[in-house]
Amino acid sequence: MADVKLMIAGRPYDVHCADGEEAQLLQLAAVVDEKARGIQGGTEVRQLLFAALMLADDAQEARGKADKAEPQSDSLRAAVALAESREAAARDELRAAVTREQAALKELEALRSAPAAASAKPAHDRALLQIADRIEALATKVEQIS
């Protein structure tokens, strides 16, 4: 626990606070002191009363501003969320496009390696033509025999 001596409206006050909070307490006391000194005339109690009222007014005003700012931050959060979801959608789309491209490349590679299979067709054609030759020769022989 730390002991701090405050000076507000010309009167000293001895106050205890947690260790490490001395500077903050001195700063707050300076704010109160400034308000109290701003009020001319009247008793010390009256000065402190007005200082407290003015600080309460400041606090209320600040709260009002924060409340007004809330919708803006809401819309900002919504905009950020929208942008994030759009970015995620764009990433998904890109990933899908990459996947499609990879599939197309694989298909192309398969087609390029296919000529071995495709080359079987001319071989079949040649075999069919040879069979046609042989059956035609057979037909000629059968016609001669008949």
Binding site: D125, L129, Q130, A132, R134, I135, L138, E143, I145, S146
Partner: protein
Amino acid sequence: MELDLDESSLAIGRIERALSRIEKALANPPKQPPSASAAPAADQSALRAEVAAVIGELDRLIAEADRG
């Protein structure tokens, strides 16, 4: 208009026509008496062997085509 038949279609057409000729020849009665027209046994045997060989070749081609 330009039509293009591939070699396999042409070959199949030729095979169909040759088979039709064989069918027709077998359906027709012999032109001469059997004794004069009968082919020698060796020719008959060679003919049968050729028919069997052609059928075997066709079976092989069909099996290959089925395998793709």
